[in-house]
Symmetry: C2
Subunit: 472 residues, 2 copies
């Protein structure tokens, strides 16, 4: 048996690669249904699709920008041609780790061919070179929408984003039982508030000093962690930054008090600031932030209660957002983290083009969301096959009529799989295993009728290929 031995030696175990998920056909069917649904909603708001290459130059990837900012340690995958020859000069290429850097490059590159406001959606894989031990996805899907305009972008787009996301998240098949909430803030509120502060100046302690940019950044970073670490830890950390414990209690507490309220209307927000004697709302940026956030909330009043709240603790790390910011959480499990985030930025593509391109965008962390619903066993059971009907093949003699019948039904919009023959019992078992709802029996001999069996009810009836309907 030397042949067999030789063959055995070659066999090695096929294995998944950590962080690169793949699904069985039945799971992929649910995933496709999700993509179809998301696409349909995006398009219903007039967003066009683009795809960009999987790679950008390493220079472009390393340029400032992109989501996650300094808070995420962005591990990048670089490509190397296995058969690269000595002297082949080419730019180093890297797989994109988000869809924002590619969008910036794309918008600048095709600027003259795009119609602004440019509303695009993008649903592609992105890659992060995480350590295999981390358990994180290294390849996953994101579904992004962004609106980019030249010079200025009306604020109502900031309200359109969460409306679209809510429509999607409240109707993805399998997600119905999750309580999901979109949380919105505006970075101008916190930054404006910090700008408004006059802190004690040594040695006499008069309240005349402004916070430095570095101090503001540090405080923003602490507020960003509020939900995770709690207010006492925030005070403690602010103390450690060198601002003193008293500073936290005097200046940060009033803002944290506001953070712990959730507002649902513009009036609520404005009232809360007006009534808060500890906050001076005369700062221009703070005022703008409150106005913008109120406007956005008022535009979302048609959504069900609790779908969207204004939450001033939302900061989105230190990245490049300049106004509205979004996060989305499972309200019963906020520690799962945001499944859909984004915000407004002043200038998308300043690396590339001497035009001001403000934008607002939001990104669904598709794979993380899907993974949660999948592991909870809540995905809809769509069967293993897209076939509506299995056309059985009782004998070779009637292959022709079976094939013709299948074609007729396909032309009428049904998905029809032609069985490959063999014992009838096994053909029926095959339909059952694949979750195909109907089995069609072409006439076994001249003069007989077609018959269709409903696999769910077991009922079997005569049928005509030109007239039969699922609803019969």
């Amino acid at each position: 048996m030397s042949d067999n031995k030789k063959q055995k030696k070659l066999i090695y175990k096929p294995e998944s690669i950590s962080g690169f998920p793949e699904w069985l056909p039945e799971v992929r069917r649910a995933e496709q249904a999700w993509f179809d649904h998301i696409r349909q909603v995006f398009e219903s708001y007039g967003f066009c699709n683009i795809e960009t290459p999987s790679v950008e130059t390493l220079d472009a990837i390393n340029a400032k920008g992109g989501d996650g900012g300094a808070d995420v340690d962005k591990e990048v995958y670089v490509l190397e041609r296995l058969h690269k020859e000595e002297g082949d000069k080419e730019a180093r290429l890297a797989l994109h780790f988000d869809q924002t850097i590619p969008l910036a490059r794309y918008t600048a590159q095709h600027f003259n061919d795009l119609v602004f406001p440019f509303k695009r959606y993008q649903m592609q894989r992105v890659w992060r070179g995480e350590r295999p031990q981390s358990g994180r996805f290294r390849e996953f899907y994101q579904c992004d929408i962004d609106v980019i305009n030249v010079d200025q972008l009306p604020l109502h787009f900031d309200a359109e984003m969460p409306a679209i996301i809510w429509e999607i998240l409240s109707s993805l098949p399998g997600i119905e039982n999750e309580n999901i909430q979109i949380r919105i803030s505006n970075r101008k509120v916190l930054i404006g508030y910090l700008e408004s502060l006059n802190i004690p100046t040594p040695p006499n302690g008069e309240y005349t000093t402004k916070l430095s940019d570095k101090q503001k950044t540090s405080i923003v970073r602490e507020i960003d962690k509020l939900e995770k670490i709690g207010r006492d830890a925030v005070f403690h950390n602010v103390d450690r930054i060198g601002l003193g414990f008293k500073f936290g209690v005097t200046f940060i507490k009033p803002f944290i008090d506001m953070c712990e309220q959730k507002f649902t209307t513009g009036d609520d927000i404005e009232e809360a600031f007006t009534n808060n004697a500890d906050i001076d709302t005369s700062n221009q940026m703070l005022k703008e932030g409150i106005e913008e956030l109120s406007f956005v909330m008022d535009q979302l009043s048609h959504l069900p209660e609790g779908a969207v709240v204004a939450d001033l603790s939302i900061v989105r790390g230190l990245d490049y957002y300049t106004g509205t910011v979004y996060e989305t959480v499972f309200t019963e499990d906020p520690s799962y983290g945001s499944i859909c985030s984004g915000g407004r930025y002043d200038d998308l593509a300043s690396n590339y083009i001497n035009k001001k391109l403000p934008g607002v965008g939001i990104s669904i962390g598709f794979s993380r969301l899907f993974e949660r619903i999948r592991t909870k066993g809540q995905l809809p059971d769509l069967g293993k096959s897209p076939a509506d009907i299995l056309m059985v093949m009782p004998s070779e003699e009637i292959r022709k009529i079976a094939s013709e019948t299948a074609r007729t039904l396909r032309n009428r919009g049904y998905n029809v799989e032609l069985a490959h023959g063999g014992k009838l019992k096994r053909q029926l078992a095959y339909a059952e295993k694949k979750g195909i709802a109907y089995v069609w029996f072409p006439p076994f001999e001249d003069g007989l009728d077609h018959e269709v069996k409903n696999m769910n009810t077991g009922e079997q009836k005569t049928a005509s290929p030109n007239e039969w309907s699922k609803d019969d």
Copy 2:
């Protein structure tokens, strides 16, 4: 203007990366329509979808198999984590260059969870690390279908493949004016014929010697080039291999004569062999090849004339096909090469699993096909936007009713983009530029009607959001 100067220094030109195509929204819309169409046809035959990760281990990629075989210099892209740390042990990963190697690994890995015959389609990007100067795609889409079974796979699946491909290629939007032909052969015919030969044995020249495997391989390689180089060059090359010019004329000519005929029915094929006194059809493999090819052609008799022909010159290089083989060409431009190829193989996953898994599959070279129709300017004009309707925003006062009307129409299945305001004239110009067919005017004040303008005809009519239809 030091600020401006500083900014200018940062700006660099956004550029395409050679071999990594991307499209403007209007082209992408056509591309999406193609994918949707291909998916719909694949599913109408009961094929389920899978996706595999973009990467496999380099070991798996380098294992025997995959399409293209030794004829294509497969350049592979290897991934490197930019921030890989000393001591991080992990398998080397490479981007897949086809969808067959991933399918083999997938089928073996999930063997116990799949229902056989396993009919799957896969439409993903693949990567080939071509030199940037080559002008070839380095990232492109392939659309594959394969049927895999355990132990043996009925032959009628070999006929289903071209029927599906024909249905797709004859109805992709924009491809209508191309003359496309699927060419089918069976490798057993040529291999069987070569096996049947008795060639002269030195020194006495008796016709008793069989061709060696190496000689057969060389001849197969020459026949594969027949259409490109012509029969005289084939004879010349066979001479150079050391078989002599006379060998070519005596033994290769009869087969080339057959190659230059195109057969459309099983009877034609069988008749041609029977009537060819120079070919001995008693060889078992040759017989099988003729029978199989005839069966496949007979199953395709419902297709229009010229859609599918049997062409014995089709060999598909030296790769792993063992029976039926397919190629697809533009009949007016065969030098463009095959846009859709495949065949039958004995054993998909022998590297991984101790089971015999025969299969048959075919792959649409999506990007090459799309690129041809695109560069010929034949893609359908689907506009730059999926929106059916632009909802104009004549003033901020009626934003609420405009938004509500948009929601009503979306719920009725229309894609509605909400204009962002500004001068009405500019909003209309925007609809025109984006190719949005209808512009909706919500009532400018209480008591007025909604109105809709058809941008193609210029006609403007009153309408109700709950009743309006495109066909009105």
